[in-house]
C-alpha cells in the first residue's frame, strides 16, 4: 500500500501538468523582481573584451553599430545596446548606426532618446548619425563599405547625411575603428563575411542567448573580439559601466528560473530512476 502511494506520487510528479510548471516559472520570475536578492555578477572575458576595446579607443574614434533585431528580442538586446551606446557617448566616440531588420529602427530611436537624456550634448549629425533601415541585407553592408552618404542620402530623421560633420571623417565602414553588432539572427554572418573581413575592421557581437552558440566559432577564430551573450552579458556590461539598469534587475529572476529548472530536472530524473527500480522490483516479486 505504501509502495502504491509512493509510486503514485512518483508518477504524478513525472506527469506534472504543464500549467503547474508555468505557474512556478512565473513565480520564479516575479518574486525576485519584487524582492531582489542581489546576487553578484561575475564579468566574463568575452564581455570584458568588448568593453575594453571601446574603453581604450582614443576619444573621438569611429564606431559602427548595427542593430539587427526586432521587438521580440528587445528584452535581451535593448539593454546591451543601451549600455554600449551610453559607453560610446561617455567616451565621445563618433557613432554610425544602421539597422538591417525592418522592425528595428523605432527601437534604436527610442534608445537614442534615452541616452540623450543622460548625455544632452550628444547630438545627431555632430556625434552620431542614425542611418536607419534599408532593404537589401548584404547589399546594404556592401553599400556602407563604399559610402554612408551614397547608401543613405538621408538619415532616419530625414536630414541629409552629406552635410553632417560626423560624416566628414567617417563615411564608410573601412574608416571605423571598431564595430559592434546586435544580432538576433544570421545577419551577423553577413556583416563578418561582407563587411568587417573585407574592410579589416575589428568587430564585437551582442547576441541573444539562443544564437550565441552560433557565434562562438567566430570568437575562437578571432573574427569577433568579444561576445555580449544574452541578458547576462547585458548585465555584465552594465556592471562594467557602473550603471546597473534593466539587465541587472532581471538577473535574479533569471537565476531563480534556472535554479528551478535545475531542481525540477534533477528531481524528475531521480524519481524516474526510482520508479524504474520499483517497477523492476514489483515485476520480480510477481515472478
Amino acid at each position: 500500500m505504501e509502495n502504491e502511494a509512493k509510486r503514485n506520487f512518483l508518477e504524478l510528479f513525472l506527469l506534472l501538468d504543464r500549467r503547474i510548471i508555468y505557474t512556478l516559472v512565473a513565480l520564479a520570475v516575479a518574486i525576485p523582481l519584487i524582492w531582489p536578492i542581489g546576487l553578484p555578477i561575475r564579468i566574463t572575458p568575452e564581455v570584458q573584451s568588448v568593453f575594453d576595446k571601446i574603453e581604450n579607443l582614443p576619444e573621438g574614434s569611429n564606431i559602427m553599430m548595427s542593430a539587427d533585431f526586432d521587438p521580440a528580442s528587445q528584452p535581451e538586446l535593448y539593454p546591451m545596446m543601451k549600455a554600449v551606446m551610453r559607453h560610446i557617448a561617455r567616451k565621445k566616440h563618433k557613432l554610425a548606426i544602421t539597422v538591417l531588420w525592418p522592425n528595428g529602427p523605432n527601437l534604436v530611436a527610442q534608445c537614442i532618446e534615452e541616452v540623450k537624456e543622460e548625455y544632452p550634448n550628444w547630438r545627431s549629425g555632430d556625434d552620431f548619425v542614425f542611418l536607419g533601415y534599408q532593404v537589401g541585407g548584404t547589399i546594404v553592408i556592401i553599400g556602407v563599405g563604399n559610402s554612408f552618404v551614397e547608401t543613405f542620402p538621408k538619415d532616419y530623421y530625414g536630414n541629409a547625411t552629406s552635410t553632417m560633420p560626423v560624416i566628414k571623417n567617417f563615411n564608410r565602414l573601412g574608416q571605423a575603428d571598431y564595430m559592434i553588432m546586435f544580432e538576433a539572427g544570421n545577419s551577423g554572418d553577413w556583416w563578418i563575411v561582407y563587411g568587417t573581413e573585407v574592410h579589416d575592421v575589428e568587430v564585437g557581437g551582442g547576441v541573444t542567448a539562443v544564437v550565441a552558440p552560433q557565434y562562438y566559432p567566430y570568437l575562437q577564430a578571432k573574427q569577433l573580439n568579444g561576445i555580449i551573450g544574452g541578458l547576462k552579458g547585458a548585465a555584465e556590461y552594465e556592471m562594467l559601466m557602473e550603471h546597473p539598469d534593466m539587465a541587472v534587475a532581471a538577473m535574479d529572476s533569471q537565476s531563480m528560473v534556472h535554479a528551478l529548472l535545475f531542481v525540477a530536472i534533477v528531481l524528475a530524473n531521480i524519481f524516474a530512476f526510482a520508479l524504474a527500480i520499483q517497477k523492476r522490483n514489483a515485476a520480480r516479486r510477481e515472478k
Partner: protein
C-alpha cells in the same frame, strides 16, 4: 512555350549559378558591380512578390469570413487591422508620434515581446518532460547541460566560480566541436545540392515537383 516552362529556367539557373561561382574568384570591379546589380534585381522581385502575398492573405481571410468557418472572427480582425494600418501609414507615415507609431509601440512591441517571452515557459515544460537520462550518453549530456545551465547565471557563480569556468569550457570545447561537425556536414550538403541545381538535376524551384 514549352521551352520557356521547362528548358529555359534550367539554362538560366546554370548560367546564373556559374556566373556567381566564377565571380567569387574575380576581384575586378566588374564582379562586384555584377553582384550588386543582381542583388538589386532580387530586391525588386521580392518587392513585387510582396504584392502577391498581400493578395493571398486577403483572399484567404475574406473567404473564411464569407464562409463563416469556425474562428472567422480572427479573420475579420486581421482584415480590419491590415486595412487600417495601411491607410494610416500612407496618410500619416510610420514615424514615432504617428498613429502607426503608437500602434507599433503599444501593440506590436508588447505582443512580439510576449511571444518571445512564452519561450521561457515552453522551455521549462519541454525540459521537464524530455530531459530524462535513459542511457549513459544521455546522462553525460544531461549533467553537462545542467551544469552549463546553472553556471551561466549569477546563482551558479555564487555557488562556485568553478561552475562558471566549467560552463565556459563546455561552450568553447565540446559544444564547439559538435557545432562545427554539424555545420561542416550541412555545408557539404549545401554544395552538393547547389551542384544539382546548377546542373539541372534538382528542379524543385520550378514548382511542379520533378
Amino acid at each position: 512555350m514549352q521551352f520557356f516552362r521547362k528548358q529555359f529556367p534550367i539554362l538560366l539557373a546554370f548560367a546564373m549559378g556559374m556566373t556567381m561561382f566564377i565571380r567569387e574568384f574575380v576581384p575586378a570591379k566588374i564582379a562586384t558591380d555584377l553582384y550588386e546589380g543582381f542583388t538589386k534585381w532580387a530586391i525588386v522581385i521580392v518587392g513585387f512578390s510582396a504584392v502577391f502575398a498581400i493578395l493571398s492573405l486577403l483572399h484567404h481571410h475574406v473567404n473564411r469570413v464569407r464562409r463563416k468557418v469556425p474562428g472567422y472572427g480572427y479573420s475579420m480582425v486581421t482584415i480590419i487591422a491590415f486595412i487600417q494600418m495601411l491607410l494610416l501609414g500612407l496618410i500619416f507615415s510610420v514615424r514615432p508620434g504617428t498613429p502607426v507609431g503608437w500602434e507599433y509601440w503599444w501593440l506590436f512591441v508588447p505582443m512580439q515581446a510576449t511571444m518571445f517571452a512564452t519561450l521561457a515557459f515552453f522551455i521549462a515544460s519541454a525540459a521537464f518532460r524530455a530531459f530524462r537520462a535513459r542511457t549513459w550518453e544521455a546522462l553525460a549530456l544531461l549533467i553537462a547541460g545542467l551544469l552549463v545551465m546553472i553556471g551561466r547565471v549569477p546563482i551558479g557563480e555564487f555557488i562556485s566560480p568553478y561552475l562558471s569556468d566549467f560552463a565556459g569550457w563546455i561552450m568553447n570545447n565540446p559544444n564547439m566541436a559538435g557545432l562545427r561537425g554539424v555545420v561542416l556536414g550541412v555545408a557539404l550538403a549545401q554544395i552538393a545540392i547547389s551542384v544539382r541545381i546548377i546542373f539541372g538535376i534538382e528542379r524543385t524551384y520550378m514548382g511542379g515537383g520533378d
